[in-house]
């Protein structure tokens, strides 16, 4: 484990060197925005809408006491989406989708000697391949998370309207009650840390492969497992640091 941590830190030093050529880096960054960010919008949208709807319905279902106002449904949906669901659960889903993609893409390049080809050409492969992925993830994941928050709230609102459990007025009143802007800042800080974890850990696992196709598959699985565990761990650490 210590050896792995050491290798990961050494790789980070290589990754964060100045790119060989600015225009090439920018072009790769745009490609990664599409591959890692825009291509993930569909799954983020679907999951966010449905989860927002489910949270709203479950909250409404659990409110038995007439003393609890129905606007609590909107309030709870907002808090759940902003504080935990959008930054953490969506990051876990991205660890599966984006993390496995990064590890298998870079791992395949390793076993087919494409990384060696970059190195003998005088290109820093870690910087060329992984830095655009980390940058794209850290710039685009906060956009995805804000997008998820918005869609989740819309999903909750739609569910309340369609089922008739809560009126639109009550739901919106709940959404607007006791809003603390720092919760959004907290969610974005978490997202940035999680985006770094997903892209750098998956990049490391793909980059350090030795072997063939079996090892590419293993690295892809490990990327999801390790990223998920680290996300949960840092979720706890950041929550403790930022909210208490």
């Amino acid at each position: 484990m210590l050896k792995m941590l050491g290798e990961y830190l050494i790789l980070l030093v290589e990754i964060f060197k100045r790119p060989d050529k600015g225009p090439v880096f920018r072009r790769r960054l745009l490609i990664e925005f599409v591959g890692l960010g825009i291509d993930s919008m569909g799954i983020v949208a679907i999951i966010s809408i449905f989860t927002g709807a489910i949270v709203a319905i479950q909250t409404a279902y659990n409110i038995d006491s007439p003393l609890i106002p129905l606007s609590t449904v909107g309030f709870t949906t907002r808090q759940m989406m902003i504080l935990e669901f959008s930054p953490t659960i969506i990051s876990l889903i991205l660890a599966g989708k984006v993390g496995s993609r990064i590890a298998s893409e870079i791992g395949t390049m390793r076993v087919t000697e494409q990384i060696d080809a970059l190195r003998v050409m005088g290109v820093n492969p870690a910087n060329y391949l992984i830095l655009p992925k980390i940058t794209a993830s850290m710039l685009f994941n906060p956009v995805l998370i804000v997008f998820s928050m918005g869609l989740g709230l819309c999903g909750g609102w739609l569910a309340c309207i369609v089922t008739g459990l809560v009126t639109s007025t009550d739901f919106i009143m709940g959404l607007r009650s006791w809003f603390e802007p720092f919760t959004v800042t907290y969610a974005i800080i978490k997202t940035l840390v999680f985006a770094f974890i997903i892209s750098s850990v998956s990049g490391y696992l793909g980059y350090s492969i030795k072997g063939g196709s079996v090892e590419v598959g293993e690295a892809s699985t490990k990327a999801v497992v390790y990223s998920s565990i680290l996300i949960i761990f840092f979720d706890l650490v950041l929550t403790q640091l930022l909210l208490t």
Binding site: V24, T112, V120, M121
Partner: protein, 248 residues
């Protein structure tokens, strides 16, 4: 010229290269031959800087490559072209983008200049109208030719080819050998080829280095190799039915 001076390399207890010294000459096809496990690949990887030898040094035109820091190796690397065994073409790039890659990274050429150069080298390796195809859409022989085009696109002084004929039919292999030989002469490069293909040895072996159990066992050329009495070399040269029949 490239001078390999007393290089040794071990992986754990396995001594793969033992005090190997040789010279690769300019304008010639310099072959490294030997059986699997003889240390050919480690020697080639040491030459191109993918493996650091434990002892000895490699000099590129008097420039000590193996002892340089990674950052300083870059100047020599820019003069290198490498053809990997599987081609190592970038999957996400088409043929044109693959060949243009070294030009994008290391030159200040305009796009039209780069395109002219790409089309020129592709024509040189007898490939035309394939610019927009991806590696998965072309044959093994075409892949090798694209890889050669990429290797020579930036006018290298040194060309390294690792098993250029592996996985190719004999006719295509001969075409690739002839192409490498022609390019070497035309560009006056130092070409180093790692092979165990006897057809290549006899077709383009202007300088041959035979490795046996990690040691440089014999040096010669395609004209002398068949007459050599060295038993280990004979065993390698006449290891196939075809060469045994020729010997008779």
């Amino acid at each position: 010229m490239i001078e390999v001076k007393n290089i040794s390399k071990a992986f754990g207890d396995n001594q793969v290269l033992k005090n190997v010294s040789t010279i690769f000459e300019k304008g010639k096809t310099n072959l490294i031959i030997g059986q699997s496990g003889s240390g050919k690949t480690v020697m080639m990887k040491s030459c191109i800087g993918l493996i650091d030898p434990d002892e000895g040094e490699i000099l590129f035109d008097q420039r000590p490559f193996s002892r340089l820091a990674e950052k300083k190796k870059k100047d020599i690397r820019k003069d290198m072209g490498v053809l990997f065994q599987g081609g190592a073409l970038f999957d996400s790039f088409n043929v044109e983008q693959n060949v243009m890659f070294p030009l994008n990274m290391f030159t200040t050429m305009s796009l039209s200049e780069k395109l002219d150069r790409v089309n020129f080298v592709l024509k040189r390796v007898n490939l035309e109208n394939v610019n927009k195809l991806y590696p998965s859409e072309i044959s093994g022989g075409m892949m090798k030719r694209v890889a050669i085009a990429r290797a020579i696109s930036n006018n290298p002084q040194y060309l390294f080819c690792d098993e250029p004929n592996s996985g190719l039919d004999p006719k295509t292999a001969e075409v690739i050998d002839a192409l490498i030989s022609e390019i070497t002469e035309e560009y006056d490069m130092i070409t180093v080829i790692n092979t165990h293909d006897m057809n290549s040895v006899l077709q383009i072996g202007q300088r041959i280095n035979f490795l046996y159990k990690g040691q440089l066992w014999w040096k010669g050329d395609m004209h002398t190799i068949l007459e050599e009495e060295n038993p280990e070399l004979q065993e390698f040269v006449f290891s196939t039915e075809l060469t045994r029949r020729i010997k008779k």
